[in-house]
């Protein structure tokens, strides 16, 4: 009887641990997915470089703290600013010249930008992994009844929700937000109505990239091995998360992120023999959702875009 209790107790703790793992991974995915969805909502293009912007932000934060000895909170602010600048630069050089080009050209340009960032990072930072510095309290562990939680994992969902609320506010209740929505609906008409399209798109990229920076900092603290290719797989998965939630829809991206993060963890939890197929889960999920609900879970025509 006691043994039986121990087993049920064990699995309960195990399950709780799995849930915690899943939620913390999911909220990271959600944070990065918002960036994808923002850009997609306005430009209707996959910003393939988004994942590599995340990677660059990791390096910015890392070097700020380790090489330049800037206090971590200041570094985070600087990282967000630098990353926003990077995002805007990429938009101006790689996407703006192609605004009237066919969509596929923009997609190719995005792939090219991503390729360039990866190669540049490999060249400048070498391929050796660097350690993201430990942040005093965020990196520490908290034990709750046998379940281990890293402090940052408690923060990530909070940060995600703050970002979500802030973004929804910007999009729904400010003039810039209104302009964003206008551009997203029809940018020709928006232009005619006097919206400065280029500015709005730059702002979108700045916001999207700042979100990438926040995501990157969280990512770096949680998974502190930084390499030039670190963004590739998470980037794809976050994009998939955005599609699952309904691309262009901010709330959808968050939901998609959680579904993907939890799903990935739980599939390993319940079917350990399939742990080698873990990455396939995201892609299968993508294809499934595209097949049954191509607009995603929340991507209905009535919900607001952008």
């Amino acid at each position: 009887m006691e043994i039986f209790q121990a087993i049920t107790n064990m699995t309960a703790v195990g399950l709780a641990q799995h849930m915690v793992n899943g939620i913390s991974l999911g909220s990271l995915y959600a944070l990065i997915a918002i960036g994808y969805t923002m850009v997609y909502g306005i430009l209707l293009m996959i910003n393939f470089a988004h994942a590599d912007i995340v990677m660059m932000a990791c390096y910015f934060a890392l070097f700020g703290i380790t090489t330049f000895h800037i206090p971590w909170y200041l570094t985070f602010v600087l990282t967000i600013i630098l990353t926003a600048l990077l995002g805007v630069t990429i938009e101006r050089t790689a996407y703006r010249p192609l605004r009237d080009a066919p969509k596929n050209s923009v997609l190719i340009s995005a792939i090219g930008a991503s390729f360039l960032l990866e190669n540049l990072a490999t060249y400048v930072f070498t391929g050796r992994p660097l350690h993201f510095p430990d942040i005093p309290f965020l990196s520490s562990m908290i034990a709750v009844g046998g379940v281990q939680i890293q402090a940052i994992c408690l923060f990530i969902p909070i940060v995600t929700v703050i970002c979500l609320v802030g973004l929804l506010h910007i999009v729904n209740h400010t003039k810039t937000g209104m302009a964003m929505r206008a551009v997203s609906k029809d940018y020709e008409i928006a232009r005619v109505m006097g919206v400065n399209i280029d500015n709005i798109i730059s702002i979108t990229f700045a916001i999207g990239s700042s979100l990438a920076a926040i995501g990157a900092i969280m990512w770096g603290i949680r998974y502190p091995g930084i390499t030039p290719y670190l963004g590739v797989m998470p980037g794809l998965k976050c994009f998939i998360a955005a599609v699952i939630g309904g691309i262009g829809n901010i709330k959808g991206a968050v939901i998609g992120g959680f579904i993907l993060g939890l799903g990935e963890i739980l599939i390993v939890a319940f079917f350990p023999q399939f742990s080698g197929y873990r990455d396939a889960f995201a892609f299968l999920m993508l294809i499934w959702i595209l097949f049954y609900k191509p607009t995603g879970l929340l991507g209905e025509k009535t919900t607001e875009k952008v």
């Binding site: 996959i46 969509k103 090219g112 360039l116 190669n119 490999t122 080698g276 993508l286 097949f291």
Partner: protein, 357 residues
Amino acid sequence: MNTNKRNIMLTLAALVVLFGVACFAQTEIDSYVRRIINLCLIYAIIGLSMNITNGFAGQFSLGQAGFMAIGAYMVGIFTVPVNLRADVFYATPMHPWLVNIYFPLWLALILGGILAAVVAGLIGTPVLRLRGDYLAIATLGFSEIIRIVITNATPITNGALGIKNIPPLNDVRYIFLATAISYIIITLLLNSSYGRAFKAIREDEIAAEAMGINLFYHKNLAFMVSAFFAGIGGGLYGALLGTVDPKNFLFTITYNFLLIIVLGGMGSITGSMFGAIIVTGGLEYLRLFDEPLEVMGVVIPLFRPGLRMVVFSILLMLCVLFWRHGIMGTNELTWDKILNFVKHPLAGFRKKGVQGK
């Protein structure tokens, strides 16, 4: 009709001459250059295959890596001599059903192509309903799934350990013939009513449908043909290297072919050929960026491994931004143009001669 006949004769003649060159290359040129030529030819097949969907049918697919993997593994699994297989599958023995099945290379190539096409057909049914970015990401997803399945299907594919001991094929003649045959078949297909249907779909799906073109059938056909040739290209790639493993077929390899068709011109057969040669050869040429450079005794620190890929990606970006249509755009290099070009400068030369008098 007459010019048509002439063009066909010219093409055949050119192929025969090129085959002669290939024979010459095989015996006279060192194995490094031969390897580069072979890689150019193989990349040309895969580039062409990608151009069928992306350039001609206008369906932006990024699944080439997966189809290559299928072809390469077909060659890997079935052309390794039976007595060497125990060595290859030293960790997990090969599946007993497969262990004694041996195919010659040509058969394995064709079967690899067919299997890739079948898989493409299965994938195509749900995926080809999507458009643009969605299609791109879904096909990319499938190519990753194929790779993950290959990684995990150890008794068949030897998993991450890969397959070694594939009889090496660094033979320009063989690979040239394969490329030539692929080229001819793809050209015939794209010049047939199917090819015109593909282009119609590319230009305007709704209009094409209104004209009575069965969208689903033609898209799927383009996708399957594309996969077939990607499979053949992948098989040759595996045979050229003599070894395959799943990491070869990460989705990033697809970007190589994307670059080839972008540079050559999306929707141009000859463009893909040029693109393959320029990209493969160019990457080899750019290798000097990776080597330390001394200018007048001073070592420039900028030149170290990695710079080559940076330069390469910058050139790619510039090409995409300022030279969107690539070398050929959607045009072809035809005999008429070549002959005109040959005649034209001659005419100009004659005029000058007259002036001289």
